[in-house]
Structures are given as structure tokens and as C-alpha cells.
Amino acid sequence: MTQNRSAWIFAWALLVPAILYVLVIVAWPLVETFRLSFTNASLRRTVDYVGWRNYEKIFDADFLEIIIRTFTWTFFSVLLKMLIGTFGAVLLNCAVPGRHLFRLLTMPPWIVPMAIGIFMWGWMYNGQFGMISGLLQRFGIVDGPVAFLAYGNTAYWSTIVTDVWIGVPMVTIYFLAAIQSIPRDLYEAAWTDGASRWMRFRRITLPLMAPAIITMSMLSLIATFNSFDIIWILTQGGPSGSTTTMIIDTYSTAIGSKKYGEGAARAVVICLFLSLFCVAYFRMTRKLAMA
């Protein structure tokens, strides 16, 4: 097809509405966040520039702790998603009766409104009457009721488990597609040579899945780093800050305390980390595409 001048105009004309929309709703707010982070914006009408003061204010021991917590929380969540997702994908790939139904049954956590799934977890974590505490007592693993969301340590892990629960279906289905795109001849050749099932998994499935695992862990890292709903609904960052990640911290500063300037400074720090992840992700996918 001749790509002449009118084609050029036509192509860009098709793109302009989407570009404009994203510019106004995403790009401009992004720039505005940077600008506001140098101001004392709040509910008041006047907005003054305060230089680096917001950044000086937020960089203390507490904020460092929040950053470290965000990274450990994200790390454990992504790690568990990848492990459970691989486990699920390998099992669902087995040619056993009922596999189509099983694949379908992994999807609900992903498809239903996130908040509603989280409400259900909220009940399960309930100390007096919830299922987890109840079953643990029934089997004699704990003596009394455990209110999972009332203590820092258990709340931290409870929010991770719920985040993993929501993330696993997508990871599983994606890994399953990756496994199914591996040529069958490889398995048949290995089988003819007498390789055991475990050997075939170690030497064929896992290496050929590796690009999918890398891609997915990067995407998952970015999504998990941005996770808001789960922690906000279950604990609002509590008890005493033990589940406060950077997103939660920014939200409570900006929307809760109405300190827009300071909140924007916190958001900028998140943006810097996200940009790093973004660059890493694009580089990695390019490397994978070339390999």
C-alpha cells in the first residue's frame, strides 16, 4: 500500500482522540503532581511555592520504613504469585478429565469486583467468627481466636495473601498459555529418550517458560506496587502503620489529611520508582524479543 501524505494524516487523525484523552487524564496530572510537590497546596485557596521543603519534611525514618515495607510487601506478594501461578499452570496443563472446568474455576477472584472479594476475606480473617481462625482452632493449631487484622504481623501477611489471591488467576492463565505454546515434539522426544516427568519439567517446561515468568513478574511487580484497594479495605494501613505502603501513605496524606503538596511529594517518589520499573520492563522485553 502506498503510504502517502493522506495516509499519514488519516493515521494520526485516528490516534488523536485517544492521545488527547490520555494527555488530559494521565500525562497532565503527572506533570501537575511534580509541580504541586513544590507547593504548600491544601484546601486553602492560595498556593505558594515552597521549594524542596516538602521533600525535606517527608524524608525521615518513618518514610524510609514505609519504602522498605512497600518493597518487602511487594516482593513477597510477587514471589508467591509466581510460585502458586506456576504450580497452578503446570497442574491445569495436565491432560486429566475435568481440566476445562478447573481452568474456569480459577478465574472468579480476577473477574468479580475486587472490593467484594476483599469483603469476603475481611470476614474470613475475623477473629471470633471467621473461617481461618475457626478452622485453626478446630484442628488445634492455635489455642484461642486469632484476629488476623488486629496485629501488625498477621495483618501484614493477611493483606499479602489477599493480594496474591487476586493476582494468581491472571498469572496462572498466562503461564498456562505459555506452557501450551511449547512444541509437543520436545516432550515426545524427551519421553522417547526415557526422561522422567520431573526431568521434562526441569529441562523443557521451566526453561521455555522463563520469558513468560520474567515478563509476568515485572508486570506483577508494577501492579502490586500500586496495590491500594486491598490494604485500604482490610486495614486502612493499620494497625499502627504495619500495612502502610507508599500508596496508602500518599492517599492518607493527600486525601485523608488534605495536605496536597506533601502528598504530591510522596506521589513523586512513587513515580520515580515506577519509572525505574517501567524502563527495566521495556529493556527486558526487548532483550527477550531479540533472544
Partner: protein, 292 residues
């Protein structure tokens, strides 16, 4: 013939499991699915239990004297429930329409034309999905306030739609790239304009892909209404389901069986979609996830 037979034999032999392997596989799948479905099973059983049984120790898994009463009484305890569902559906529908109007032309442009700068724009679109709404909340909040859109449907629809655009573009672009370019060439030979080709040749062929994208976007919009609705709207009559129920969740005296009953009614549309459109879903979901 003999060769085909041999391959088939190998294919079936390789999939034959010994009895202990079968037990292992089914046990593993059971464990995995239990984790995925436990909250739903528990939530459903809770919705059947009378309150007196819910708040009693020791914990009992099965409902005694279970009934569907909560499914009737919830309509009185949550008087706005019907509105919440309506709002959720309305917000998702309008967001989906906005996304389609923007994404269908854009995806076609990305799939068919390779002009300088377009790869960069595509990369920028994908980068959008990396930033969540939470990060941009402050300027968006000020923008909505300035435009006087706080406490309206628009405040929940407009920002939400932006974050659904990247994966929709990606999914539809992948689909449209499979449409043979010869169709464009033939239309060009016949003297059709670019717009006519797009409108009369490409769009009808791309319809199945557009439907998949519409379903995926709708599900995304239905599943993720929380942060914007929580922050930009405080009017009960405009609240979508998740935020409407969240208000009850936050109360001291949570009527759990009714909350769970309401949740189940609220997720019913999503579950219906899963069962009827599963064929499209798996392809759509995985293609949407591959962003490279």
C-alpha cells in the same frame, strides 16, 4: 499412515498417568482451587446462616437452619442496593463506550500504519498502565473540583476509562494485525478512501475482536470501581456497588449474612459472563496481559 499412527501413540502414551500421579494431580488441583474459591464458599455459606449462628462460638462451617432469608432482608437493610447495582452497570457501560470510541480507531492506526513516532506513542500508551490512579489522585481531584465534576457520574467514569485504554489498544491491535493487508490494497485499487476502507472493510471484519475488547473492558470497569468512586463521590445515590457496600463494611455492627448475600447478587453478572463467554475470555485475558 504408519508415521501418523506412531505420533498419535506417543501423544496418548505421554499423557497417561499412573494412579499415584493422578492422585497427586487431583490433590494439587483441589488445593489450588480451594485457595481460589474458599472466600466464595465461605461467603455463600455465611449468606445462608442466621445471624445468631454467625456470632456464636465454636465456629461451625455448615449452616444450621440455613435459609435464603438474607437475600430478602438485605433489600430493606441496604435500601439503595438496587441503585448501587444500576450505578455500577451504568458506570461500566459508559466507560466501555468511551474506551471503544477512542480505542477502535487508535488500534487500527497502530496495526496498519508505520509512521515515524507511532512506536513511541504506543510505548507511551503502555506506560500509562504502569501508573495507577492512586498516584495521580491529587491533581485529578483538583481537576474534578475545578470542573465542578465532584459528586457526579463523570468523576467516576472519565478517570477510570483512561486506565482501561492501554490494554484495550494492545488487545485490539493484536487482533487487527491478523487482518490481511491485501484487503486494504484491494480497497485502494477500487478507489476507496482510507476512511471508507476503515469503516466498510475493516470494521465489519474486526467485529469479533471488538466484542472481545468490549467484554474485557466492561469486566475491568466493573471490577475496579473503587478508588475514584471512593474519593470523587460522596453522594449515596451515585455510588457503585463496591463503595456502597464498603460503607456498610465499615460500620460497627456489620450484618454479615446480608452483606454476603448482597455481594453474591453483585458478582452474579460477572459469574454469568464467565460461564457464557469463557471461550473468548481465556484468549482475551492472556492477549491483554502480553504487553511487549
Amino acid at each position: 499412515m504408519a508415521k501418523i499412527f506412531k505420533i498419535n501413540k506417543t501423544s496418548t502414551m505421554i499423557d497417561r498417568y499412573s494412579w499415584y500421579e493422578l492422585i497427586g494431580i487431583y490433590a494439587g488441583i483441589a488445593l489450588f482451587l480451594f485457595f481460589m474459591l474458599a472466600p466464595f464458599i465461605e461467603g455463600f455459606l455465611v449468606s445462608l446462616k442466621p445471624l445468631s449462628q454467625l456470632f456464636s462460638s465454636p465456629y461451625s462451617f455448615w449452616p444450621e437452619n440455613g435459609s435464603f432469608r438474607a437475600y430478602w432482608t438485605m433489600w430493606e437493610s441496604v435500601p439503595q442496593f438496587g441503585w448501587y447495582i444500576f450505578n455500577s452497570l451504568l458506570i461500566s457501560t459508559v466507560a466501555t463506550l468511551i474506551v471503544l470510541v477512542l480505542v477502535v480507531p487508535a488500534a487500527y492506526a497502530f496495526a496498519r500504519f508505520k509512521f515515524k513516532g507511532m512506536a513511541l506513542v504506543l510505548g507511551a500508551f503502555l506506560a500509562v498502565s504502569m501508573f495507577s490512579g492512586a498516584v495521580l489522585l491529587i491533581p485529578l481531584f483538583r481537576l474534578m473540583r475545578t470542573l465542578g465534576l465532584l459528586n457526579t457520574y463523570f468523576a467516576m467514569i472519565v478517570p477510570g476509562a483512561a486506565f482501561l485504554i492501554p490494554s484495550a489498544i494492545w488487545l485490539l491491535r493484536t487482533y487487527m494485525m491478523r487482518i490481511p493487508i491485501e484487503l486494504n490494497e484491494a480497497a485502494y485499487m477500487d478507489g476507496a478512501s482510507q476512511f471508507y476502507t476503515f469503516r466498510r472493510v475493516i470494521l465489519p471484519i474486526a467485529r469479533p475482536g471488538i466484542i472481545v475488547v468490549a467484554i474485557m473492558t466492561f469486566i475491568g470497569a466493573y471490577a475496579q470501581q473503587f478508588i475514584f468512586a471512593l474519593t470523587f463521590n460522596s453522594k449515596t445515590e451515585y455510588m457503585p456497588l463496591p463503595v456502597g457496600l464498603y460503607a456498610y463494611f465499615g460500620k460497627q455492627e456489620v450484618i454479615w449474612n446480608e452483606l454476603m448475600a448482597a455481594s453474591f447478587v453483585g458478582i452474579a453478572p460477572a459469574l454469568v459472563i464467565i460461564f457464557f463467554l469463557q471461550r473468548y475470555l481465556v484468549g482475551g485475558l492472556t492477549a491483554g496481559a502480553i504487553k511487549q
